[in-house]
Point group: C4
Chain length 314, copies 4
Amino acid sequence: MRKKLYDLLNHQAPGSLQRGSTVFMVVVIFMSSIALVLTSEPAVEIRFGRLLGAVEVVASLVFLVEYLLRIWTAPEQYPLRSSWSSRVRYLTSFMGLVDLFSFLPFLLMLAGSQQTPVLMLLQLTRLLKLTRYSLAFDLLADVLHDEAESLLVSVMLMFIILIFASVGIYTFEHQVQPDAFGSIPHAMWWAIVTLTTVGYGDVTPVTVQGKIFATLITVVGVGLVSLPAGIIASGFTEQLRLRRERFQSEVEQLLQDDGHLSSEDMGQLERDRQELGINRDKAELIISQVQQREQQWLRKHQDSGGTGAHGTRT
Amino acid sequence: MRKKLYDLLNHQAPGSLQRGSTVFMVVVIFMSSIALVLTSEPAVEIRFGRLLGAVEVVASLVFLVEYLLRIWTAPEQYPLRSSWSSRVRYLTSFMGLVDLFSFLPFLLMLAGSQQTPVLMLLQLTRLLKLTRYSLAFDLLADVLHDEAESLLVSVMLMFIILIFASVGIYTFEHQVQPDAFGSIPHAMWWAIVTLTTVGYGDVTPVTVQGKIFATLITVVGVGLVSLPAGIIASGFTEQLRLRRERFQSEVEQLLQDDGHLSSEDMGQLERDRQELGINRDKAELIISQVQQREQQWLRKHQDSGGTGAHGTRT
Amino acid sequence: MRKKLYDLLNHQAPGSLQRGSTVFMVVVIFMSSIALVLTSEPAVEIRFGRLLGAVEVVASLVFLVEYLLRIWTAPEQYPLRSSWSSRVRYLTSFMGLVDLFSFLPFLLMLAGSQQTPVLMLLQLTRLLKLTRYSLAFDLLADVLHDEAESLLVSVMLMFIILIFASVGIYTFEHQVQPDAFGSIPHAMWWAIVTLTTVGYGDVTPVTVQGKIFATLITVVGVGLVSLPAGIIASGFTEQLRLRRERFQSEVEQLLQDDGHLSSEDMGQLERDRQELGINRDKAELIISQVQQREQQWLRKHQDSGGTGAHGTRT
Amino acid sequence: MRKKLYDLLNHQAPGSLQRGSTVFMVVVIFMSSIALVLTSEPAVEIRFGRLLGAVEVVASLVFLVEYLLRIWTAPEQYPLRSSWSSRVRYLTSFMGLVDLFSFLPFLLMLAGSQQTPVLMLLQLTRLLKLTRYSLAFDLLADVLHDEAESLLVSVMLMFIILIFASVGIYTFEHQVQPDAFGSIPHAMWWAIVTLTTVGYGDVTPVTVQGKIFATLITVVGVGLVSLPAGIIASGFTEQLRLRRERFQSEVEQLLQDDGHLSSEDMGQLERDRQELGINRDKAELIISQVQQREQQWLRKHQDSGGTGAHGTRT
């Protein structure tokens, strides 16, 4: 029974119970976050304060129960460890802390503590619980891991260009606009607002040299700053390609063993497909392509080389 | 005749009549939308009010006639249903409602109702009729469907970072700027304007801590917010690749059956090409590549293995 | 000699003379455009007016001479036409008009006409002459042609969302801000500034409903507006892939004819490489890969099937 | 020993000493740059001025020592040259100058020279030393080199559209707003701020014609200006693909020589993998795919053609 509960909490249970529980958790997480945000608005607080408070109480209780259940089922997650060791492992894991913070601030407030911004930020860590509910977060995590070095370099490049932009604009503008460009850290605010193309317009260069410098730095910098997004997007494409190739290798392997795909093989492929997050359409296309290539090979072989071998395969 | 009319309305008729009717409908849709927009400008309304009104009348009549014809030809769309069932099906379909709204508001106005913003928005649904006139909308729909989960995750990420940004900036700025950052929902306006890099500059952080927080959130957030565009763009590439592969499979299949492409096969491929929305140049390249590979294989086989089999194929 | 001059004007002449003439023309085009821009600045005009005027005179003369030479060499461009027919063809072609406008406004000014903005814009068409000087413009033209339908759809989508955004914001804001949102065309200015993420901040929504609507439209719209850039970028990748495949087909064809690449074949491939705009490194990689595959095939064949055929190829 | 030191300075030494030295240098570069930036802020300077000065002294000494060591080990870098020739070569190389500038300004300041913006910019060249510490900079350099022509064309297109936008907006706005749009170079500031979507809002068109022109130029221009980022991103994808193909060719070559990968082959592949900057996971996938294809080929051959040849390979 602990196994079943563990599967349910981790989306490995079959059917509609799983779907219901997932939707329930996602809704609770979203509702409680929205309630938290709305509470800060005085006009809303006066009229709906009690309703919003109730949403928070219910959500915190749900998260508390979930936390206790996850502690209980932790041994299923780490089967090679002892019960207690596996529970300590969960309690100190990143997601364990996220689960703790999702209800702890509320308990503190019940215990008399005031609502403070820090408590509010802690409560919002519950949004990170959402990452459990889609394979696409895994995909994103894989992409970030794969492209870690490229992204690091992008960040370094951004840092380099940010420093150059700040020092340059400081040089040209700090005498004319001592308020906005009084020091390099101040100038950095302009640089970041410009390089990300946000461009509030609260500080802008006014001297001719400053404008020329800003032009150059903008043209070069805007491209560099949009690099990480480009890298992540192309990493997505690459990661999906890699996963398709892995699936194809698997199909070829299974087909090669005995020349056709048994229903057992199909079950295996279906599990692989889900794990790799491949679209059903694409999976079918890959399977049919591999089969076609195989048949093509066989047919040709029977025509020519195969005949020479007196048709050992029919 | 009903069949011919149905084909004409759905761009499956051949030749110049089809082209003429498509151009006519696109022009009517565009002109009537522009007329609607211009009517709201008093200076234009005074001088060209009657002309714009006439455009609207004509367009509404065209849409009404189109609607009636589509109702009449609905049985061609759903051949397996009875006439009435298929008509009810069309009337309650999404595009059926779009077609209805494209002239209904005008009839209401004729019947004495005032021009209201809601009526205006209803009238503008006629722009959605444009989606009938290009295969590329199909492509976009396929991409959105394929990448649905990635896009959902992007939206969730955007939501998460939006909440964090709002709470953070509220924390740092609400005491100094109680007007602009008086509550988290207010702060959210700043967050959305910043994260999308629109950056109006109507609200900006002024405290040092607020600016440092804004810098961090901007650098991280800008990348995440541009993710959906990147995903859609890479989905486009992927979808086009998938369609090319499907076309190639089809060519291989046809070529394999009897060793060459008959004129019947070419007709089939031309239909596939149009349906898959593949460029004529690319289609020809794919066909010639498949043929070349096939010939290469045959040639080699005759040299070596084929000789061993006493040349069963020549 | 006319042939040589034609080759020189169209970058098909060999060696350093070609390079010199290309650099010269590019420099003249850039310098004269910059001079034109600087002339409009009174402070610069007073000090360097005569110098800038001289640059303009020289450039116009260069363009005049180029124009006459192109008229003379036009028959080389259209070898199947008669001399006069080919010249008329050039004179009425798009680039012929661009060449004409590059010096005509200056002649008009010499003849007493005032410098007017329209004349200035005509003069700037000389910038379009730059498109002759890089194969990458061809690549861009191919991409735009290939992706024409996708881009058209993007523009239609942009138009649709622009209209919806304008009507929506007009609905919510025109009573509170009658100046900025007094009519839908006025509201369209806000919509375009917001959807392109330029975000000047000269007009922004102030009502709560307006801000909520703006949030929704921004999140959806920003992705759609960046679609064309994504399509063009992925079209670039696709176009480059297509060209590499064409080159590879060519290599396979040449290799298949007689089993190795003669120096004549290499010359042919070098011409193809330049025409397709493929990097030298990539071309070499493709050639070596094709050769390796071919050798691999031969080797394997000699081991097994080839033995059965008593080694017809060695 | 000089060889060992050279390897250490250039990240070719094995183990933890290398890692420690790399981290140390990166930290020194970052810390000293941040110190430089903070010194310009009076509030910080008063409280932490001595600490920041000390950081600068230590960093400059570290860079001085590094410089001397690099001069000493230069012969290892250019083994074919004489000791002195190789040292001169290093001293006059780009990175040699960067290394020199990283400590020279500080020596000048010690010698009595004032801190000036120019000196500050020179000091910041030390940030370029960071490019030594990641293979991803190599990748970026390769991409920039490969896509040089496409990028050049993008820059030319940007220049063309910038000029057209400036002249156009000048035409429509210079009479109404003589301050902001008094000349074309002034109008260029608006054009660059708009086309890069920074959109400060310090200068905006106010006439109807100006706004219509701005709308058109923005829609067209924004796409073109984001082209370089798209080209670089797709160049990244392409470059990574090229490197994977090179690695695959290498694996095929090694496997073909004697039918399996010896531990010596694996060592070679590991070196190639590092040099090409390929992820360990991807490398393993490529190797296993090549092996699988090879085995598949062998197996099929033994079944049919191989039998005909009386099983020459087992």
